[in-house]
Symmetry: C2
Subunit: 515 residues, 2 copies
């Protein structure tokens, strides 16, 4: 038995049973080991951003890490942007990155690079395996690192000779440690803040926007009258009919400042004081009003539901009915010309029960939160790191983590282009993902940003850098090219028909919305 087999064995024994791969020569022994060790599901991506993004989506839904298999420094580099997003989403991932055999590395062959240096900026844990004998132990450390609450990026670099050399002892990861209980002092301080006069908000992030935590927050709101808000982005917010609503802090600085202006106190629950996505000349980067007092109940890695339970108990709120519960309310299906409100209504009416919505619609999707509040219960995933190209890969991983659930990916045409190869993996794995491409044929957000940074009106050259209309992308052809069925909608009635068709199918379906 060689090191690679022992490695795969250790991963499977430690509960890592899904591996997203884009391997090369230096990983061939690991690929061979996948045949020899049972229990690892392997999913090929045709670009590494698909691989790492899928691992992010997998963790968000499965709440446990998948592995990736990447080829040397450049292969890892292609996966970095979605590792950035995963790290900011605090997803746990075990990256396996091949490298040249130790004796080969000194020779500066074409693919030589400093893999550890490439890994570090987007990893929480990096190790280069020293010997084939230690691979199981190394894998176990990587899994334990990845499972450190709430989740971490662990990158294990495998010189080829550690994979092909003789195996050392087997190993298995310890069970994940329970999340840390928050201190009584933190609970007391939060209770005090909530009893003070003046408008107070709970700002929820991380596990604080799962249904159980939101329910407790709703009870606290019922008792104290506090507002509930969530961070601009959430790795996974559980929402829809019957769930407690915590509106997002808006993206646009002025809107965010307006939302937060009234609060004297904000209790942080798996969240941090809100800051702008970008800086703009003459606008604040910190969004809460000056003098606003922050009290942290729970950090993002703590036992957030437990903390909310303790706080609810301290406030005598536990037995109350939660406030801010969304009533079940589906809009009538609209017809006629496409408007963003109309699209939101179609989506709101048709989101299936327990669906997973991956939102990378950028400008087109900004108004979708309110209309979908009373839709059938669903999870809504947004990009935590802001690097575009996260959506299609995350949809792949989410669908693999929950094969019984329907996934809807909302994609701007600009953002979908970064990792469109994910469509092929959806087809290969027959994933029940319906992709909706909002084809406005522009980096529409950047038109707004151009104005927001005070750059004036874009001229010809700048406009060329912000538009995708020459030539127009044909998303139905792109889908077909990747083996995915598709349809086009130029009005709301057709969109509803297409969406129903996508949601009824056995595999992926792409809808190109002509905006």
């Amino acid at each position: 038995m060689n090191g690679a087999q022992r490695l795969v064995e250790a991963l499977v024994a430690s509960g890592v049973d899904t591996c997203f791969t884009n391997p090369g020569t230096s990983e061939m022994h690991v690929v061979a080991a996948l045949d020899r060790v049972d229990g690892m599901r392997c999913v090929l991506g045709l670009f590494e951003g698909v691989v790492t993004g899928a691992a992010d989506g997998y963790f968000r839904i499965a709440d446990r890490p998948a592995a990736t298999l990447l080829h040397l420094g450049p292969g890892l580099a292609n996966g970095l942007a979605n590792l950035h997003n995963a790290k900011k989403a605090r997803s746990g991932i075990v990256n396996l990155v091949g490298d040249h055999a130790s004796h080969h590395l000194a020779l500066n062959a074409p693919l030589s690079s400093d893999v550890a240096a490439i890994a570090r900026p987007m990893s929480d844990w990096v190790r280069t395996a020293a010997s084939s004998q230690s691979l199981a132990a190394d894998a176990v450390c990587a899994v334990e690192a990845a499972r450190t609450a709430p989740g971490r990026i662990a990158t294990l670099i495998l010189p080829a000779d550690t994979a092909w050399g003789p195996a050392g002892p087997a190993a298995v990861a310890n069970a994940p440690a329970p999340r840390a209980t928050v201190s009584a002092a933190a609970v007391d301080a939060s209770a005090v803040a909530l009893r003070e006069p003046g408008p107070t908000a709970l700002l929820l992030g991380g596990a604080g926007v799962r249904a159980d935590a939101l329910d407790l927050a709703g009870r606290i709101a019922a008792k104290t009258g506090c507002a509930l808000i969530s961070e601009y982005n959430s790795a996974r917010i559980e929402r829809g009919a019957g769930r407690v609503v915590a509106p997002r802090v808006p993206y646009v600085i002025d809107s965010a400042v307006a939302m937060l202006r009234g609060f004297r106190r904000i209790v942080l629950i798996g969240a941090v004081p809100p800051v702008g996505f970008f800086a703009y000349p003459g606008k604040p980067s910190e969004l809460a009003p000056p003098g606003c007092e922050f009290t942290e109940l729970a950090a993002v890695g703590d036992d957030i539901a437990g903390a909310l339970r303790a706080l609810a108990d301290a406030l005598g709120a536990r037995a109350l009915a939660p406030a801010h519960v969304a009533a079940f309310a589906l809009p009538r299906l609209p017809d006629g010309a496409i408007t963003l409100d109309g699209l939101a209504a179609v989506l709101a009416a048709l989101i299936p029960d327990d669906a997973i919505v991956v939102d990378e619609a950028i400008t087109s999707g900004r108004g979708f939160a309110l209309p979908t509040q009373g839709s059938r219960p669903h999870d809504w995933l947004t990009s935590m790191g802001g690097s575009i190209g996260y959506g299609l890969p995350v949809a792949v991983g989410a669908a693999l983590a929950a094969p019984a659930r329907r996934v809807i990916a909302l994609e701007g045409d600009g953002s979908a282009m970064y990792t469109l190869q994910a469509l092929w993996t959806m087809a290969r794995e027959s994933l029940q993902v319906t992709v909706i491409v909002f084809a406005n044929r522009a980096y529409r957000i950047l038109r707004g940003e151009f104005d927001a940074v005070g750059a004036g009106a874009p001229g010809r050259r700048a406009t060329d850098m912000l538009t995708l209309d020459r030539p127009a992308l044909d998303w139905c052809a792109l889908a077909r090219g990747h083996g995915v069925e598709s349809g086009r909608a130029a009005d709301l009635g057709e969109f509803a028909r297409q969406l129903r068709r996508g949601l009824a199918g056995d595999g992926p379906y792409l809808i190109e919305l002509l905006l």
Copy 2:
């Protein structure tokens, strides 16, 4: 005037007049400056690997750097793999990477990352601009770094406030320094080596495989009887009828060892002692025979043609007719079923005069060198860094650097998928690129590598990781989706017709070869 305008002004004044872009909010002032400063051609890529690869291709043909404009750490990360290739090709590139405004960076906004740390592994020079006042001076340093012979990757990080703050003084780069003349001792030592008995080879790399240098090498060969060989990969080898032939060191270890076995002495000219692309259990990494004596005439950054001239003079070879000149010889156009030899013959017959061939055909293209030796004169570009996804972007940059020349991109279907978004830029810019996709529906090279590393026969799971046939990619649909015309060829006659059509057109054309 703001810093961004001064920056663009300095680039244009310093001879950098092409910028490949994929900007975001933090680069909006630079985009605005592109409108306000004349003389910069801006080319949009829909993925950053297209942007950096295009800059690589541009340098290889123009012999001067282009700029790139990238969005923060993740945008740079998406461009790293092709920066790796460009760095190994010793292409000069000026990367401009936006970052958050200095005051925003401390707040850990979603897109915050350590941009300099991401840049370093694939850059020769990295600087974070300290102030809007210094941007022109910073740009000048970046240009001078990028132009350091033979070419370097220079990355200038621009916090947004340095772009929008007030401009400092204007600046312009010094003219590039001439390449270093090699020492008389190096010329003498090389002449001595060539006069010794026993088989000797000149191993040529960098500018040593341009036509003028090859011509001198051919004269030296005529005088001394030495062999001429070139490195496995070359950023740009000038070849075809009338040019001196220097066969490549083969990729496969056994073949490379067999080629080099006979040499007692190798004179290095812009080249290094040959090493294997990968390491394999039980095979050598260093490919020359034990005891082979290496003598360096010129390093890759030296004045290589000058060194060869001096060496030819020292040997009394200058006035001789060069040996190893390829005769003009076009194969008859074959017909019938597709074979790799048949494809090579079609290509060899139809390569237009002064064409640029970008070769990322991986396994399918390995046998193309000999058949195309007597084709019309052309440049042949290969990947120096080995990271796949280099071909289509390099073709974009090459076509922009030489609008009058025809570009042929040979692509494996696996490798083309990494940066297929380059097709859209070809369409937008009406580039005369004919893309030939060798659709074998597999990572065919990895089947060979699986065997070569001794991993045995691939089982079901491993085979799934090495094949692209479920579903089959439809390259004509992918081309159409990006706005590129296309055709399919299932026999050699149709391939010839399609290739003629592509080479006669005004814009890009893609041919899917069904292997």
